[in-house]
Amino acid sequence: MKERMSEELVAMRAAKELKDGDYCNLGIGIPQLCASFVPETVKVQTENGALGYGPLLSFADMEKLAQQPELIDELMETRDPDLSDAGARAFSPAPGMSFFDLLTSFAMIRSHRLTSILGGLQVSEKGDLAIHSTSDRDPYPQIGGSMDLAWGAKRVIVAMTHTAKDDTPKIVKRLSMPLSASQCVDLIITDLAVIEVTPEGLLLKEVAPDWTAEEVQSLTEATLILADDLKEVEL
């Protein structure tokens, strides 16, 4: 079996979509990992009410802390429980950050001023997104902010694995899982490919190293249109 890109690499590729002056919100899952790769000129928003805050811990930090656990005590000096993101992870302060209530936060999320990087359970060929639940009879609906983010962003990027754990395709003709928001996805970044949602259909723009377009198509239910300049994933 060929190797797919790691979650870190997918996150790195997704973060590359963020440009100087952009604002972004990073969802649960692979999108959270983007935080390590977001340039300083991009400001991160969190649903529970902060914008432009400092970094969470990166992979590099984590590896260092695993090797030198005594550094954790030192690190704790800078952690403040009142500065934490939507996933309750403590962030560090940064110049220019601001705090606000949830009304302001969700007006912001719906303002079409943020780029939203979301995870995904399924994406359809029209850009419909399923993210909050695998079935209609879910005893634990976890919609959270996902529907607001998918509807209200300037641009929606889904960063996810290309297939489910049982290898069934997650990029499908029509959603079989409950819809979260219709025709909202602009770009899909997976461990196998970068795919743009266009009015003509799904445009395969980049494939993972060592993978061919045919192999990616075989793991994709929806039909992929090959880009003229189809290339290997650029990191």
């Binding site: 952690r79 969700f106 634990y140 976890q142």
Partner: protein
């Protein structure tokens, strides 16, 4: 000037069976854990709970001064929340989760879901006396079930009703004697909007300062919205210093666990 300060027990005595109660619950801080303990102690039942995130389980947290929503379950007939945890905690908290799931299956506990944005705009609608709003979120999804849909200027919307809780339990960092409130960092969250939408607002704070000590530009919740102010006693487990200790420990454990994981990533 009327004195709004009182004990948690006095404040919570406003709660009657069948009332709706709104709290902020998001992240490590900003949840009125001290008042929630008094709410459990008062025994009021058939309550409807509005909360941003309902994380069943974690009853052990109450013993270290944090909020315990599972403990409230026997008093609840309905939970309105955009995020029902549990799935994420299934392995560690199987037993407590069963209480939650069991009550839902037996029809003893009604769950009304939402999105965070819809949830907070419904509170604002309540605060403004609005009869309802057409929200753009949730068209063709589970959100629209049982609700009116309407196309306005070519775009579809779902009708959402206002939330106006009988009681709002609010956590602020500091109050003055008039009830003006300041928050700190992301513990602000839905607290200011809960204070505005609720018929009776009860606030717990670490600290009460004299009127005039808060910068008028920094007051987020003006005192008019605050009916009762409860100061968490300094020796209580939910006091600022003790809560901070506990939270720092939680953050530290989490970092240790993530660092260990990063050194030995699970095979995928």
């Amino acid at each position: 000037m009327k004195d709004k300060t009182c004990t948690a027990e006095e404040a919570i005595s406003e709660v009657r069976d069948g009332y709706s109660i709104a709290i902020n619950s998001w992240g490590l801080t900003g949840t009125p854990a001290y008042l929630l303990r008094a709410l459990r102690a008062c025994g009021a039942k058939d309550l409807t709970l509005y909360c941003n995130n309902f994380i069943p389980g974690i009853s052990a947290l109450e013993e270290i001064g944090l909020a315990n929503l599972t403990g409230l379950l026997p008093q609840l007939k309905k939970v309105v929340s955009p995020f029902i945890g549990g799935r994420a905690f299934r392995n560690v908290l199987a037993e407590e989760e069963d209480i939650f799931e069991g009550r839902v299956q037996k029809g003893e506990l009604e769950i009304e879901t939402s999105s965070h944005g819809i949830y907070i705009e419904r509170f604002l609608a309540g605060a403004m006396g609005s009869g309802g709003i057409y929200s753009p979120i949730g068209v063709d999804t589970v959100i629209e079930e049982g609700k009116e849909k309407r196309t306005i200027d070519g775009i579809e919307y779902v009708f959402q009703k206002p939330i106006r809780p009988d009681i709002g339990l609010v956590k602020a960092h500091r109050a003055d004697r008039m009830g003006n409130l300041v928050y700190r960092g992301t513990s602000r969250a839905s607290n200011p909007v809960v204070a505005m939408a609720s018929k009776i607002t009860i606030v717990e704070v670490f600290d009460i300062v004299e009127t005039g000590e808060l910068d008028p530009e920094m007051v987020v919740t003006p005192g008019i919205y605050v009916d009762r102010i409860v100061r968490i006693p300094e020796d209580d487990i939910s006091s600022e210093s003790k809560t901070n200790e506990v939270l720092k420990m939680i953050i530290k454990r989490r970092i240790e666990a993530e660092a260990a994981m990063s050194a030995n990533p699970p095979q995928s």
